[in-house]
């Protein structure tokens, strides 16, 4: 389990993080590797400093946002969240970036599949094209940053385009990395109308949803009382259905 540090020729042992049966992280391998430094002298031979190189691996916990990244990577779906607390002034507000808890009432929000909304309605709100990047960048340059707006979503989503040139108001659709890195960089955007064969290698559109994926049909004709009972027993879909009925009244 060895690997070479980028552009250095330095070989370090690999690393692996797992979750223990107690729920903590277990780290194994090279999470921190020391690399020798060098002194810095000026022309007159005065010591002006020293370099202190190191190789360090961070872990990012996804916590309550893990569901978004799982759906992104495994299902090629985009999840938003929505506040369902009818007492909250933010009741009904939908969020992408996915946030687990409502910024108004602090209660856990409900995940919503918004993939079709993205395919049908996403537009570039603003953008910038940058020729430069910082250390550790993995995106091809120039980077076409876009902020995307979706009707019904109270926030925007920052992402990037891998095909075409961005402009304000441009209709874009999401594409997903087939060999995922389990990061937000696995999601990118292309102009509406891009054909599958035009996508660069390693990217795909999401599959079209099938009818059996739409649980809305399951609750047709179910009385309100029965729905409340089901929701109280923890049926998430029943809770959603109550929410929609409330909204439509």
């Amino acid at each position: 389990m060895k690997k070479q540090l980028p552009d250095t020729g330095i070989i370090v042992p690999g690393h692996e993080a797992t979750v223990t049966n107690k729920g903590g992280y277990h780290f194994e391998g090279a999470f921190s590797t020391i690399v020798p430094g060098t002194p810095i002298m000026d022309d007159e031979g005065t010591l002006r400093g020293v370099t202190k190189p190191r190789y360090m691996v961070y872990v990012h916990s996804y916590g309550g946002e893990a569901l978004f990244f799982e759906a992104l990577v495994r299902d090629h779906k985009l999840l938003a969240t929505r506040c369902e607390n009818s007492k909250c002034p933010g009741h009904g507000m939908m969020y992408l970036p996915y946030r687990s808890h409502c910024p108004d009432c602090g209660l856990k929000m409900t995940p919503i599949d918004m993939t079709e909304l993205a395919y049908n309605e996403a537009k570039v709100y603003t953008f910038v094209v940058t020729e430069r990047s910082g250390a550790y960048n993995t995106l091809a340059k120039p980077i076409r940053f876009i902020d995307i707006e979706f009707p019904g979503i109270i926030t925007f989503l920052k992402s990037y385009m891998i095909l075409g040139e961005p402009s304000i108001g441009l209709r874009v659709v999401p594409v997903f990395r087939t060999d995922p890195t389990f990061t937000i960089e696995d999601l990118a955007w292309v102009p509406e109308g891009t054909k599958p064969e035009e996508l660069p290698e390693g990217w795909t559109f999401s599959a079209l949803p099938s009818d059996d994926e739409d649980p809305a049909n399951a609750y047709e004709g179910v009385p309100d009382k029965e729905l409340v009972r089901m929701a109280n027993e923890g049926d998430l879909e029943a809770r959603q259905e109550i929410f929609f009925r409330d909204c439509n009244e």
């Binding site: 946030r99 304000i168 509406e192 949803p209 649980p215």
Partner: protein
Amino acid sequence: MVRKGGKPEIRSRIRLKEVYYEEYPIKSPKGRKGMQMIQFSDRQLRIPSLSRPVYMITGGMSQFGRAFPGKKTEELCLDAVIMAAEMLGMDWLELKQFIQAGFYGHFADHFGDQLLGEAVIHDRLGLDPLPGIGIKTGGATGGYTMWTTMMAVASGMIDCGLALGWERMDEVPTDEGNHLIACAADKDWETGMGHIYAGYYAPMSTRYWELIAKKDPKFRETLAKIAVKHRGYALNNPFAHGGMKITIEDVLNSPVVSEPLRALDCCLMSVGSACAVFCDETTANEFYNRTGQKPLRVWIGAGTHTLRVADRRPMEIPLLPHETVEMYTGSEHRYPGFTGFLAARMACYFGYRMAGVQNPLEDFDIVELHDAFTISDIQTYEDAGLRPYGQGNDYVESGDCYHTNPHTGQPGKLPSNLSGGLIGNMHAVGATGVMQAVEVALHLWNRHGEIHGDPNRWVAFGKEKPNDWVDLQVQNAHRGMAISHAGVGSHVTCTVLADPDHLFTGKEVVA
């Protein structure tokens, strides 16, 4: 549209339901175009008040530069506090006898590879074992450091406190620096994309440039005028590290950073330190009787907004004392969207009312604004109410923002960034907000020319004082303001300073 893609291998853990936006009811009647708005209670929007008046008695700065291999950070901090002491005719040992706590603004621990850098500085200044605390709010670190110091003095917890800010940005290569700054964006949703802050910041200016400025070449020239002005003023400032004699054409022909911004539209990346000393009225009088330097009243309003710009939710425009609802009725732009900085507006909303400011353009004599980029400088004119939203460029075109109005040859109505600002003077992040307050204070003390024109200072900084050096002191300056602003607008403060014999016409909010 036909889409093609592999069937998902693993079903999501929840049963997903397709939802369309038409299904959402709009409960808030206030929103434009039916958009739901965030709201706040009257209690949350209560105007902050100080339990007792707070005064700024002195301030100081180190030299600012791109790199100082010959000085450690603590040496630069000592330079600043020694200048603050000298401003009062004291040495640091003497001034230190008044200081009961240290408040330290330092944005990026990882730039200096030193956690608790504030503890290092506190020790090197000889303030152990007195209380000391670090404050970090991105580009607004300097402003928030003073905000914290003000609260400590106002509460009676201390009578005199040191607000000191610094930044060390020369110890890593630029691309690593870009990455480290990009770590101030959301690590899981933004940083990985490009590892460069421009990717998060510049889309805001694109939106302003296309929708408000409408890509007007005249507006582009207005931006260039700001760069010319700030780099030009910096030539008269011995502390500054970015003074340049340039033309509008130079700016327009400098390399593109991201449309419409060119290299000369962007602020500096600096190393340096700045400090201010705040105290209560009794201590202020003691200083005044001893040194003759008039203490200045200080009020600081503070605001915040989402670290991820993408998380901005719409709301009604919070109005400043001189604004009316009618000014923005029928506006087609979502507020704040990406074209305004809500945190800056809230800082002014609170700060102006704390101090009794009624109209910033009329009430202030000098301002220092956060010109990280020429276009964000214009956005700040609007957030701070120097012009209504959408009309910020007029503050430049009217000549109001100049020391001497180029159209009339008379003093500008409200000169801004005579220090050179972030574009011409410095942006040593943790020090910037403090530097701005010190620069404003120098005008109110009528010492701007003395401090900037001192030939010995130019020599000490290894520079030659220009033959055409100009004294930019604003005559009869009694009241000023400084905006300390974090990158995409996550934190902003509005520091209001006033000669106690020339307070504002409005009613000050008193606890």
